[in-house]
């Protein structure tokens, strides 16, 4: 650890998607005098604006020069030609990790030797991987290489990283090796804690916490400043359709009950071209007021949409909590989620929201009609849901919990160093 006057600031190397708002929100919750944070990118992209102030770092002295609250971004220096050559060699030798569904293996992903270099140069006290299929697999490669020289490793499980992938034959052996290699495990869901224990976790499982950390509710409009959900007429649809999302299923559900939804504005986020074509067919055939909404340029605008919604619908074959669920609960929108999320750990089905089988479109359609027509249901759910997230998604509460987790991991680091000495 580093001497800074009488202060010893530990360094946390966060391996993850540097352009992710979730990663940025987590670091923003934690940054300050408690520890130094350095981000190791998993691919080439600009850091999320929310990560500012951040500075490039290439050495231990750069890290030690970071000011309070400044975040380091490890600068990648491996020449492109070398990266491409190494990638083809790894692919030919079968050394590449399986790619996440819908992603193509690519030389543009950061490679194991680059993380090994970062760990050797920066000497972090702990490595914290956020997300599994990119960051976790990368760190697993580093641990294979470094062995006992790998710092204590905390893995944050985002969404469905393990819940889905441990069931896919190509990924299962990697997930099993990874679960047994980590020193600490931080999930979003109790469901996943039980799962990784069954899969052979040897490290410590911490109490679950949302991947996004927490929210300062003093910045969220007071509940009585929001219009009651029964007075709102927007149905907001999370339109992801692909490796997990089932946006098309939601559109089919809306089509099945279209006559009951006249008078509602149906707005669909994150639309693919296929979704747009389906919505066009629905608008012509059903007379529904259904339209895509463009990607919200700021988080505030995304939240404003949720605050206008009576219902927020998001369905997939695998999920964690889903930040949209927590945001819907914060802003009074009635949530409809799938049984394949861990929404049941936050809401009571049929009372605070509705949870449906993602393969049962008819039940989803019935849930939408119920939420659209039952004013008492949505108005009663809103204050309960707000109280729940104010308690469990609060930034101060979760900052304290996360510091406790890091302190536990620093203890592991000290024990490792003493053993090595």
């Amino acid at each position: 650890m580093t001497e800074r006057g009488t202060e010893r600031l530990p360094t946390i190397l966060v391996v993850g998607m540097q352009n992710s708002v979730h990663l940025a929100r987590w670091i923003n919750m934690m940054r300050g005098s408690f520890a130094r944070f350095v981000v190791m990118p998993v691919y080439f992209a600009s850091p999320a604006p929310e990560l500012n102030p951040c500075l490039p770092v290439v050495s231990r002295s750069d890290v030690e020069a970071l000011g309070p609250g400044e975040v380091g971004i490890f600068s990648l220096t491996k020449p492109e030609a070398e990266r491409v050559a190494d990638w083809y060699a790894d692919r030919a030798a079968g050394r590449l990790f399986p790619a996440a569904i819908g992603m193509e293996p690519s030389p543009s992903l950061i490679q194991t030797d680059e993380l090994v270099t970062a760990i050797r140069v920066l000497q972090p006290d702990i490595v914290h991987t956020m997300e599994v299929q990119l960051a976790g697999y990368l760190a697993l490669g580093a641990k294979r290489h470094l062995g006992s020289a790998m710092p204590p490793w905390l893995l944050s499980n985002w969404g469905s990283d393990i819940y889905l992938y441990h069931r896919l034959p190509e990924h299962r052996p990697v997930v099993l090796e990874l679960v047994q290699a980590i020193d600490g495990y931080l999930a979003e869901c109790r469901r996943d804690v039980q799962l990784v224990r069954r899969l052979g976790l040897r490290g410590h499982a911490f109490d679950p916490m949302p991947a996004s950390g927490g929210v300062d509710f003093s910045t969220v409009p007071a509940f009585d400043q929001l219009s009651p959900p029964s007075q709102r007429n927007t149905i907001l649809v999370k339109g992801y359709h692909g490796w997990s999302g089932r946006g098309m299923h939601i559109l089919s559900a809306l089509h099945l009950v279209a006559p009951a939804l006249h008078g509602y504005r149906i707005r669909v986020q994150f639309c693919s071209a296929a979704m747009l074509e389906m919505m066009q067919a629905m608008a012509e055939s059903d007379g529904l007021d259904i339209a895509p909404v463009p990607y919200a340029p700021t988080h505030e605008e995304a939240l404003a949409r949720i605050a206008e919604a009576r219902i927020v619908v998001g369905i997939g074959i695998s999920d964690g909590i889903g930040t949209t669920l927590l945001e819907a609960m914060s802003y009074g929108a009635f949530p409809i989620k799938a049984t394949t999320s861990c929404a049941c750990e936050w809401i009571r089905n049929g009372r605070d929201g509705i949870i449906v089988d993602p393969h049962d479109v008819k039940s989803l359609a019935e849930a939408i009609v119920r939420a659209a027509s039952d004013d008492a249901l949505v108005d009663a759910a809103a204050p309960r849901n707000r109280a729940c997230v104010e308690e469990r998604w609060d930034v101060d509460r979760n900052n304290a919990a996360a510091q406790s987790i890091y302190r536990h991991m620093f203890g592991d680091a000290r024990r490792t160093a003493m053993t090595a000495a």
Binding site: H249, E277, V361
Partner: protein, 144 residues
């Protein structure tokens, strides 16, 4: 030993294809299909591959995407098949209808929205094209 019944599913997922909806239907008839081999054709997306892997893991069904046609002796996968099923947006273009008919394979081809000249079969299947549980009922009936 009796040979397993073979169900062939259209694996296209794009502006027209609704393979993920058919996969949802298979969850609704898993017990009825426990003695069938389910094979996906025309799969081009990783999303469908992942969903097929997950379906096999969760249901134990004999379901997969054939690597190449040679496993059918170099012949057609449609030969001796019990059903060819698909859900599409509004067109049957690109489906292997002629090949399936040649081998006298029963068809279950549903459209979500009707073309200008719709058949009575397409009218009947309009709702199942959006409702996987209902599509599953038709799938089982057509295999009998």
């Amino acid at each position: 030993m009796s040979r397993k019944r073979r169900v062939i599913i259209d694996g296209l997922e794009d502006k027209q294809g609704r393979s993920l909806l058919v996969i949802s239907a298979l969850y609704h008839c898993r017990s009825e299909l426990s003695d069938a081999e389910i094979r996906f054709v025309d799969v081009s997306s990783g999303e469908v591959r992942g969903a097929v892997d997950l379906l096999r893991w969760e249901t134990g069904l004999d379901v997969r995407i054939p690597a190449d046609p040679s496993e059918y002796g170099g012949g057609s996968i449609f030969e001796d098949a019990s059903l060819y099923a698909a859900i599409r947006l509004n067109s049957l273009d690109g489906l292997h209808v002629a090949e399936a008919k040649f081998f006298k394979v029963p068809l279950l081809l549903a459209l979500q929205f009707l073309p200008r000249s719709a058949t009575s079969e397409q009218l009947v299947l309009l709702q199942p094209a959006h409702d996987p549980a209902l599509f599953a009922q038709y799938l089982i009936e057509r295999m009998r």
